[in-house]
Amino acid sequence: MGEAIAFYVISALILGFAVLVVSTRSTVHAVLFLVLNFLAVAALYVLLTAQFLAVIQVLVYAGGIVVLYLFVVMLVNLKRPPEDHSAPQRRGWLGFALSGVVLAQLAAILVWGGVGAATDSSAAQSSDLALNNVERIGMLLYADYLIPFEVASMLLLVAMVGAIILAKREL
């Protein structure tokens, strides 16, 4: 019961902040709402007993990436207020069509996706997950899914090198 209440409150916060991110005029305020949104998502992870993911969410997204966003926005956007966007209705139909497709996909997942009833074994698993969250994720990443993990890290390394070369033409 309490969990359900917490879920709906947190979800409402996430959606509310997400709407504010796209509807606020000031870019800096939008970035700040994005931080609040990320923190609420982290709260949702805690509710799902994924503490490791929650902490990483705060550390990487709220504490790392958005600080860089803010950095850029503050440097680029010092002279407020932002000017009006020209002709927002021009590509409006495309946006609506794309959002409609995403909505249909989500609905399809909800209707036909395998949201089976929780069995006893999954309950036992989740209590084990709460106790050894980090160990379980470590085993999954470094034993079961080692190759995808290494490929992803190589991709990030390549992206980083590329970014440095783009930013500094003459090294």
């Binding site: 000031s26 700040l32 503490q51 902490v55 990483i56 709220a62 504490g63 950095f71 969250n133 980090v134």
Partner: protein, 339 residues
């Protein structure tokens, strides 16, 4: 009811109050230590040896006029000091101040909570604290605070990497992210991690100096170039919140360093039998003594070392601390696998 709700609440109240009182007295101690280093007396007028100076300061800051600049971004300007203060306080939730003790006939643990991602929690909460400084600089709508906050954010992001890497080598040795388990690991191995991981210990302390914006890395508030730094436009209690946050962060770094490297609440040299008589001193007193040692070094460093130049600071962070920290992690991993 009592164990699930009342006891944690009492612990939170005690820890927060102790922290805030400790912070106000840190300010006095800092003025005293720097005064002694410069052969002055420091505050002497309010109470014997100036012991009541923090009370006078608190009253002064509370009754001062609170000014919001006309062109400031009002909401963000108000929120910034709060955002700076809150992370500095909620970190204390996972710091173990002492072992389990029996108090009034019930077993009480001397920490608020022990979560299995404790160390990561501290790092992530500290990373959110950066927003207080950035937003203060942005919302003031003034040149000097903005420059200071850009410096601060660059500095904090850079040194966060080095500090987090030093923590990785500690985690490798301890085999856990929980703060209580890290202390227990030092107990069972019979040695403080400062002796196993001396490089990580030194790097962590240097990074801690930079992350709390303390001398010699106090560039975000370099008076000579940036007037007052990011809190130039702040006055009264809002200024006081930034001030308190800085000192609360110093205590956080000191207590984390104590827990990770100096055995937390353990007595010195737990493996030497001849020193067993030290166990009559309660664990939390050892914890406070060790934390105080770090805090004193913070003040000592400020009184001794000149400020770094900005490019020197960045070079130290990226070209010295981070490579050494990475090398330390690799060596620790290799040794751990071989042994």
């Amino acid at each position: 009811m009592v164990d699930g709700f009342l006891v944690p609440l009492l612990k939170i109240v005690i820890v927060l109050n102790a922290t805030l009182v400790g912070v106000t007295y840190m300010v006095l101690l800092e003025r005293k230590v720097i005064a002694w280093a410069q052969s002055r007396l420091g505050p002497m007028r309010v109470g014997p040896y100036g012991i009541l100076q923090p009370v006078a300061d608190a009253v002064k800051l509370m009754i001062k006029e609170d000014i919001t600049p006309v062109r400031a971004d009002k909401w963000v300007f108000t929120a910034a000091p709060i955002i700076a203060m809150v992370p500095a306080l909620i970190v204390y939730a996972v710091i173990p101040f002492g072992p389990e003790v029996s108090l009034f006939g019930r077993q009480v643990t001397l920490y608020i909570t022990d979560i299995n991602v404790g160390l990561l929690y501290i790092v992530s909460v500290a990373s959110v604290g950066v927003y207080g400084i950035i937003l203060a600089g942005y919302a003031s709508n003034s040149k000097f605070p903005l420059l200071a906050s850009l410096r601060a954010s660059a500095q904090l992001i850079s040194y966060e990497v080095a500090v987090t890497l030093t923590l990785v080598s500690v985690i490798l040795v301890a085999g856990s992210l929980s703060m209580v388990s890290i202390v227990r690991a030092q107990e069972s191995m019979g040695v403080w991690f400062a002796f196993i991981q001396p490089i990580a210990f030194v790097l962590f302390f240097i990074g801690g100096l930079a992350e709390t914006n303390r001398a010699p890395f106090d560039l975000p508030e370099a008076e000579q170039e940036l007037t007052g730094g990011f809190h130039t436009e702040y006055s009264g209690m809002r200024f006081a919140l930034f001030f308190l946050a800085e000192y609360a962060n110093m205590i956080v770094v000191s207590s984390v360093a104590t827990t990770l490297f100096l055995g937390g609440y353990l007595a010195p040299f737990p493996n030497v039998d001849a020193l067993n008589f030290l166990d009559i001193v309660p664990g939390w007193i050892w914890f406070l003594l060790k934390t105080f040692l770090f805090l004193y070094v913070f003040l000592w460093v400020r009184a001794t070392l000149p400020r770094y130049r900005y490019d020197q600071l960045m070079r130290l962070g990226w070209k010295v601390l981070i490579p050494v920290a990475i090398a330390n992690v690799i060596v620790t991993g290799i040794v751990k696998v071989l042994l």
